[in-house]
């Protein structure tokens, strides 16, 4: 088992090198470069000489592959470079923001599992009843409504009607755990909304499949109650594909976080990325993507490991 985990981590390295290479190149291909942006803020008609000086100062005058190798050399020492604008180390910035996005993502994931799984089970048990139809319709609705739209409504309408709007001054967990939780709850609900709908539908389908199995009939023939049958006999077998889905959806959850952090002014990775793209802050963009890449790979590793827990056939292999 340990050998397996080590091998998985080693396989991570080429993946990340390849990903970082692509990101490194593509961010520099975004139209409008940082030199123009910097100059436009101060002196629009800067001379060619000023340009070249600035370019050299930022280390952007060398060929792109040299820049890449320099960046890689830094990375091996845990250095992601410095922001081209603020000159703060990118690593420092990310380490401050990563926990916030992680917390938001985890809360969203938890919400979607806590909502999606029980409702999915309920809908499966009440297959083709009014309740089942209503819940399935609701889930389509949740999927269809975009999160940024709901987020905007939550910001705008309560303010218009009751003069209340979610706080935009961010409270960190260490300052006020409860305040922090409440502040992140609304974005987490919105972020988890679509995912909970997907989980609900998947859980329902899988439960229906499992409930038809012979071993469920065996469990009924033993005299077990419906709740014991569902919890002990059915759910575990139905949940294996749900876990896979969680692994696949984790990056999308982050994509949603980028937008919601912008709407709710949460200083997480998403907001950092958005600002960095806007200002063409290349080291920051590359750094954020690298960290996301690592996170996604680790989540998928955890998902694979959890199969062993859920499915004895995998464990014994």
């Amino acid at each position: 088992m340990q050998g397996y985990i080590v091998r998985r981590f080693l396989a991570l390295i080429p993946t990340l090198i390849f990903a970082s290479f692509i990101v490194f190149i593509t961010v520099r291909l975004i139209p409008g470069n940082i030199i123009e942006l910097m100059l436009s803020q101060n002196d629009v008609s800067a001379s060619k000489q000023t340009r070249d000086q600035l370019e050299a100062a930022l280390g952007l005058d060398t060929p792109i592959y040299i820049q890449y190798f320099k960046w890689m050399a830094g990375l091996l020492q845990g250095d992601l470079g410095k922001s081209l604008w603020t000159n703060t180390p990118v690593m420092e910035e990310i380490l401050y923001r990563l926990p916030i996005t992680f917390q938001l993502g985890m809360m969203a994931l938890l919400v979607s599992l806590l909502v999606g799984i029980p409702i999915g089970v309920y809908a499966a048990l009440k297959q083709d009843t009014v309740g089942d139809y209503l819940l399935r319709t609701l889930s389509i609705l949740m999927l269809a409504i975009p999160g940024f739209w709901v987020g905007t409504l939550v910001m705008v309408f309560p303010a218009m009607w009751w003069g209340w709007s979610p706080s935009v001054r961010f409270v960190t967990f260490s300052q006020d755990p409860w305040g922090n939780f409440v502040q992140l709850l609304i974005p987490a609900l919105i972020l988890g909304k679509a995912f909970s709908a997907i989980i609900m539908r998947l859980t329902r389908t899988l439960m229906l499949e499992v409930l038809r199995q012979d071993y469920i009939r065996t469990a009924r023939a033993k005299g077990l109650s419906v709740s014991t049958i569902v919890i002990r006999h059915a759910l575990r077998n139905a949940l294996i594909p749900v876990v896979t889905l969680v692994g696949l959806q984790a990056p999308l959850l982050f994509g949603g976080a980028v937008i919601l952090e912008q709407i709710f002014v949460i200083p997480g990775m998403g907001l950092l990325l958005l600002e960095a793209v806007g200002t063409r802050d290349y080291p920051t963009i590359t750094g954020v993507f690298l960290v996301i890449g690592v996170a996604v790979v680790i989540i998928n590793l955890l998902v694979d490991l959890s199969y062993g827990f859920l499915d004895p056939k995998v464990r014994n292999r």
Binding site: T218, A221, K222, G223, S225, P312, K313
Partner: protein, 325 residues
Amino acid sequence: MTKPLLQVRNLTTRFGHGLGSVTAVNNVSFDVNAGETVAIVGESGSGKSITALSILRLVPEPPGKIVGGEILFDGLDLTKLPEEEMRAIRGNRIAMIFQEPMTSLNPSLTIGLQIAEPINLHMKMPWQKAYDKAKQLLDRVRMPDAKSRLSSHPHQFSGGMRQRIMIAMALACQPKLIIADEPTTALDVTVQAQILELLKELTRETGSSLILITHDLGVVARYADRVCVMYGGKIIETASAHDLYARPLHPYTRGLMASIPRLDQPPGVRLVPIKGQPPNLAQLPPGCSFNPRCGEVIDRCRRDVPELMHADEKHLHACWTSPHV
């Protein structure tokens, strides 16, 4: 004479409703005495499995439903029992063994848990003790190395071993009645005999009654005390196993016997299969359901539905052509 343990009276189970409905079990009546082994024999689709599931009220509902009759077990009418009381009987006083040992055990739970489960539930035994009992049960079904196998999962066992586990599970609460639905159909021939011997031996030890559902008349001859032959959802002949073999009265029963290969027949004697297909329960012919396939059919067979008639006290049949009509 003491009252039978189980009395099934005019049991009728239907799937669907209205025009498309299918009567899978049609007016079936039989008794099972304490300690007795009763075989229910028939082709696929004859209603034998649905009869078994109806007794435990495990017919999937909807679409299935017990629409008539009584199932008297120990003085209780199971058809009228609330679901909760029915649950207290399932796995406790009536246990069931299913046909497919490969799929009838939960793949993600240890077999120890699966055997201990009814003990914990019905005998209110704490888990630790229930596991000890599960170990003893595995010993009784001759599972080698029972103690360490408690924590194994079903995929680590062969089909025969899994069926032993199913038997251990069925015996867990010392049920008065065990229903075995084609317990050996999915197994190798050599393993079939072992499983049936084991089942017979254990029911004899515990004094449990056994309903053995099978399509194998060879099994019936060796293990059953009495036999009910089912066709098209109805019992068409019932007798003691010995009597049925000596004197089959219904042409269908005779057809079943003629289609079994036998080693004591001279070579060159051809097997006689029953011609035609098993009946479509949604479109049964008028009169006797067997009449389109029957070689001895008379006019009355196409007109009147035969009900069970006595040939003698213990031997009943439903055929107009029999000399006992």
